[in-house]
Symmetry: C2
Subunit: 190 residues, 2 copies
DNA sequence: CCAATTCTGGAACAAACAGTCAAGAAAGGA
DNA sequence: TCCTTTCTTGACTGTTTGTTCCAGAATTGG
């Protein structure tokens, strides 16, 4: 058993994540992985099990980091609505890099229960944090009260996915910005 | 050269489309294709060239049919805004089947120029038809005038993608319905 | 400095892959 | 009937896949 050290493990996982994110699971070969991770083939299998386990781990890591980043933005400002804006702006700013979450949902749908579990966990975590923020914004009169917080989150998440797909399809920054602006418009009080 | 007859060709292409739509390009083997299409391997290669050509053709066919369906809904009613609603409702109603357009953009991004071309053509066609409809709705006071028609189309397309990703991720009909409703809300006059 | 551990590189594996070949069945027309 | 074209079938090729095995280099700890 040859495990690589903890420090390199995380860096290697990040490299694998980058490949999966760009090429998907089926589009990524072990050759591409060992090259990008700069470790031997054997170390890969000893450390991560097999290709699928590595993929699942990468998705898990990505989902966790992304969720954390969303929440950080949500809480970045005193006014809750500004936090929501900040979250969407971050998505727009980073839309040039493919989203592993959207990618994996697209590639596998609901066909892999262990993957679905990962998505559900991240969704649950983000939903929990966002609910609070959204309620605040509603109380402050910055968000329409007639839309339930859960519906708001669903809409924001779907809008984020839409923005990322648009970006992957070639849309420029100004278009993405407009998409985010319109998404927020849907939630404003009238 | 053994070409299969025109009638079967279309049915076979539809079958291939169904497989690609569910499993993507890399996730689909020629074995799966010949089984689903119910033709011999040789007929496949003689008729369609190779796997990639068949895929491109399937995407082209799908994009064309989907664009046509969107436009049909857009023009289904006297009031333009009702047409837009109808388009979104159709998307919600059919969201249980994966979208080959979203799928192929997710899988290949901008890396295949011949694919990008197909997407651009469909986008152009839909945009052209929708512009007219949106202008009408704006003139009728059913859509906010301050948002440019092109921005409206981009937003609608992105929202459709978002709805479809949500569906593939497991969202139920009532959630999808709510997403569509909120998307339209963003465009309403205030 | 030695010995155990950890990692690398290359070779090897069976399975699956996309694509080709050739022989024959089916069908259609004369 | 016979001949030509159209299509199916199954075997075949070379490549690539994911994974494992093994010998040796590097690193580590005592």
């Amino acid at each position: 058993m040859a495990r690589i050290k903890e420090f390199d493990r995380d860096k290697a996982l990040d490299s694998a994540l980058g490949v999966f994110r760009e090429h998907g699971f089926d589009g990524t070969s072990t050759e591409m992985l060992v090259t990008a991770m700069k470790i031997g083939r054997q170390s890969l299998y000893d450390t991560f099990g097999d290709k699928w386990a590595l993929y699942r781990l990468a998705v898990e890591r990505y989902a966790s980091a992304e969720t954390e980043a969303h929440i950080r933005e949500l809480r970045s400002s005193g006014r809750a609505i500004d936090g929501i804006s900040a979250m969407m702006n971050r998505v727009v700013a980073q839309a040039d890099r493919a989203c592993l979450g959207v990618n994996s949902i697209c590639e596998f749908g609901q066909s892999r229960p262990d993957l679905t579990e990962v998505h559900l966990a991240a969704d649950h975590r983000l939903r929990h944090a966002a609910r609070e923020c959204i309620s605040q914004a509603q109380d402050a009169g910055d968000l329409d009260q007639s839309v339930s917080p859960d519906a708001v989150i669903d809409f924001l998440i779907a809008s984020i996915a839409g923005i990322r797909i648009a970006a992957r399809g070639g849309a420029g920054p100004e278009v993405l910005q407009s998409l985010a602006r319109l998404a927020l418009r849907a939630l404003m009080p009238r």
